[in-house]
């Protein structure tokens, strides 16, 4: 197993960090998160074409750069640090993952080059019930209609669902239940019969939408009735990617809180000189570094085809969820009163930590997943 980054990867990371730092200062984050779309299409297309971000893990045969999860997760960690307002997780992780895992050769040829080039914003719509992150709870139906299908039902908590050009939808054949009869479909964002409503999210930097499908024409993606396995794989990958993003969120929270503690004077001394503060920071470093190690290990496990990857992915997500939230709580506390104000930036990352804690299943959910794998 690989435990370190190559010098090329380190260079990629430092360039990206500098770039995102320049393009996504918190002033810009605040401006974009207050818009309905949550990002600016032209600016995102430009940034993406300069850095090739959505292309990172798409194979060269489909117009991508052909890197692995190691590189994709570097991008995600840096996105977490910078809170870049862009439909990256939805497009490059969720939709790309589903297409790569489920799609036929022809479908990949048709769908992926647009994503790699940054022309297509895409997402994956699977959740309906707030208590279920798996596909087995799917109720939305797909009925054959000539060469195509017609979708009826709804999806919710769809990341960037209100702006996506391409929506990958999990649906089931009428009369089926559980993992049987599940298929992936693709639907255009402006399809007839599809109505999209932006949900008001606590984390304004991550937009979620509810999608109503009334007789929406859809194209099958992959094998009819065979979506369960590629969906499960996509969720494992997404958990690892989100864990890496949260590692970036945690590290940024920790660093900003440390910088503040060194600068903030009370009782005639920097609050960083109080032992209670030093010990809290040491504990935060432990939380963040352990979560990072798990996130990096899980990315390598995906790239190297580790047998334990399902458990390791859940471990990484659980560790990152706990570390991000704990670090966010400490960061607000260290800032004191000003940390509770809207003008202070800490709450931006606090809310991202909170939304990522819940997205794809919280720590309890992933710990149980892990145990099902390791203690069957």
């Amino acid at each position: 197993m690989k435990f370190s980054f190559s010098s090329e990867q380190e260079e990629f990371r430092s360039n990206l960090r500098r770039f995102l730092g320049e393009r996504s200062p918190t002033k810009e984050v605040r401006r974009l998160m207050a818009t309905e779309a949550g990002f600016e299409a032209a600016a995102w297309r430009k940034l993406n074409s300069e850095l090739g971000l959505t292309a990172v893990r798409i194979p060269e045969a489909y117009g991508g750069q052909g890197f692995g999860f190691g590189e994709l997760c570097i991008v995600l960690e840096e996105m977490g640090r910078s809170l870049l307002c862009a439909p990256f997780f939805s497009t490059a992780v969720l939709a790309t993952g589903a297409i790569l895992n489920a799609g036929t050769e022809a479908e990949k040829q048709a769908l992926l080059p647009g994503i790699a080039a940054g022309d297509t914003v895409a997402t994956l719509a699977w959740v309906e019930d707030p208590a279920h992150w798996d596909a087995a709870a799917t109720r939305l139906t797909a009925k054959p209609s000539g060469a195509a299908y017609v979708l009826d039902g709804f999806k919710s908590y769809v990341v960037d669902g209100h702006t996506a050009d391409l929506i990958v939808v999990v649906a089931r054949a009428p009369g089926t239940s559980g993992d049987e009869g599940l298929s992936f479909f693709t639907v255009k964002g402006d399809a007839k019969g599809l109505s999209r409503t932006l949900l008001k999210t606590m984390d304004e930097t991550r937009k979620l939408a509810r999608l109503e499908f009334k007789g929406v024409e859809a194209t099958l993606l992959g094998e009819a009735g065979g979506a369960a396995a590629p969906f499960a794989r996509t969720m494992v990958e997404a958990a690892v990617c989100l864990a890496n993003e949260m590692a970036g969120v945690s590290d940024r929270l920790r660093e900003d809180a440390l910088e503040y503690a060194k600068m903030r004077m009370q009782f005639g001394r920097a609050i960083a000189s109080f032992q209670s503060m030093k010990h809290k920071h040491a504990d935060m470093l432990v939380d963040v570094e352990l979560a990072k190690s798990a996130a990096y290990y899980a990315a390598a496990a995906l790239d190297e085809g580790d047998d334990d990857v399902v458990a390791v992915a859940s471990l990484a997500k659980a560790a990152a969820s706990d570390a991000a939230l704990q670090t966010a709580v400490h960061a607000i506390q260290i800032h004191g009163g000003i940390g509770f104000t809207w003008d202070n930036d800490t709450h931006l990352w606090f809310k991202r930590a909170k939304s990522s804690e819940v997205l794809l299943g919280d720590a309890h959910h992933h710990r149980e997943q892990m145990m099902q794998h390791w203690a069957a």
């Binding site: 440390l258 960083a272 030093k278 470093l285 190690s293 203690a375």
Partner: protein, 418 residues
């Protein structure tokens, strides 16, 4: 002289081992051959039992020893710290007198640093050494001294000047443990074992030539010893394994390991025995309990995270990168892991956690975990000291104000001697 390569070193050591190694040799006899040839400690200087080989070739030599099954020099215990300290700071007389018998294992050593009044604050030692006539006379008490009950020699930190500041008034000595002024008593721990000793020195005598470095240099020499102790800490915690092969040398090595490792036999329990958690949950019927499953998963997340963090640190070191924050966290994390494991072992054992010894689960192993784990967050630097180190050295937060290092030590408030 021909160029050293991995192949040339391998050829040389293999030829020498094939000509000299025999399991029927006595252990000391064999190790004297190692000392004479330099193959026992090939990275040491030529004039002191080594061959001046670069560290990079050590692995090749180790491989060849393992291949033929040859026993190496005595490595376990405090003797390696003594050797490293003497090599760095000792006189030729020290090297002449001590190094060979360290390598052969004939002499056992102990480290006389900690005192009842100075645990985390080792430099606050108050054991006094005073010149009287032509000898140093030592009075004071040391504690947590592993192997003192069978050691021949001790590495002693003592105060020689009370008018100097704290760190400048210390000196470092080698003391003969077998003398009337040294009284060693076992120190019984809360888990029932007595792995350490208290050492009482009453007018104990140190010959003047057994001062290491100069009077007042004690703290610098101590730092060398402690640095090697930290570096070797992982090695000490790992169980030394004797070979199960037949032959006189192997028999004698097994006996040596048994003596050296005896104090450490509860160390696996001290770390919490995470390896037993799943099997214990299964055999106690708790594996379906959702609350227990969550707790076990939290523990596994932490212990895997710790393991992978350590491997990140090692990988970075191998690549020659400067040490990142991940390299300083292991000690603190091991305390968290041990505590969480002990909590779950208690939960899994139910009322059986009230028992100990043969009446208790796994013939006392679980009970031993519960009463040994508290040592993890104290020994080798308490959690609180670890947090100070992490925050000051890694995170560059302000140092604790020191009120004890600028005035004469005799004016520094300290614990009263009982």
């Amino acid at each position: 002289m021909s160029e050293l390569t991995e192949d040339s070193v391998r050829t040389d050591v293999r030829a020498w081992l094939e000509a000299n190694w025999s399991p029927e040799l006595g252990l000391v006899e064999w190790r004297n051959k190692l000392a004479d040839s330099g193959w026992g400690v090939p990275t040491w200087p030529k004039e002191w039992y080594g061959r001046d080989l670069p560290q990079a070739f050590q692995a090749v030599v180790d491989e060849e020893f393992a291949r033929i099954g040859a026993i190496g020099v005595a490595k376990a215990g405090i003797r390696t710290l003594a050797a490293a300290t003497i090599l760095a700071h000792g006189t030729d007389l020290h090297k002449e007198k001590f190094l060979r018998r360290i390598l052969t294992g004939e002499d056992t050593w102990c480290q006389l640093f900690s005192e009842p009044g100075s645990g985390s604050d080792v430099a606050g030692a108050v054991t006094r050494a005073e010149m009287s006539g032509n000898k140093w006379i030592v009075n004071g008490q040391k504690v947590w001294t592993t192997s003192a009950h069978h050691a021949h020699w001790g590495l002693l930190l003592a105060r020689t000047d009370w008018d100097q500041t704290k760190h400048k008034g210390l000196s470092y000595f080698i003391i003969d443990m077998h003398q009337p002024g040294v009284n060693v008593q076992p120190l019984k721990q809360m888990n029932g074992h007595a792995s350490f000793n208290q050492v009482f020195m009453t007018d104990a005598v140190v010959e003047p030539e057994f001062l290491v470095a100069n009077v007042g240099d004690g703290w610098a020499v101590t730092t060398t010893t402690l640095m090697h102790e930290r570096r070797g800490a992982d090695g000490l915690r790992t169980w030394a394994m004797g070979s199960d092969r037949k032959g006189r040398a192997y028999d004698e090595e097994r006996a040596e390991i048994a003596t050296t490792m005896e104090p450490y036999k509860w160390y696996p329990q001290r770390a919490g025995r995470v390896d037993l958690i799943l099997s214990r949950a299964r055999e106690t019927g708790h594996l379906d309990d959702p609350v227990v499953r969550q707790e076990i998963a939290k523990l596994l997340t932490m212990s895997k995270g710790a393991e992978w963090t350590a491997r990140r640190a090692r990988a970075a070191a191998q690549q020659g990168k400067p040490q990142g924050p991940e390299g300083s966290l292991g000690k603190l994390v091991s305390s968290h892991v041990a505590r969480a494991a002990a909590r779950i072992h208690t939960q899994l054992s139910g009322a059986d956690a009230l028992l100990t010894g043969a009446d208790s689960p796994m013939n006392g192993t679980i009970a031993e975990i519960l009463v040994s784990v508290p040592a993890t967050s104290i020994a080798g630097g308490t959690d609180e000291i670890q947090r100070n180190i992490i925050s000051e050295r890694v995170l560059k937060m302000p140092k604790e104000p020191s009120i004890d290092t600028t005035k004469p030590f005799r004016d520094v408030p300290r614990n009263t001697v009982r």
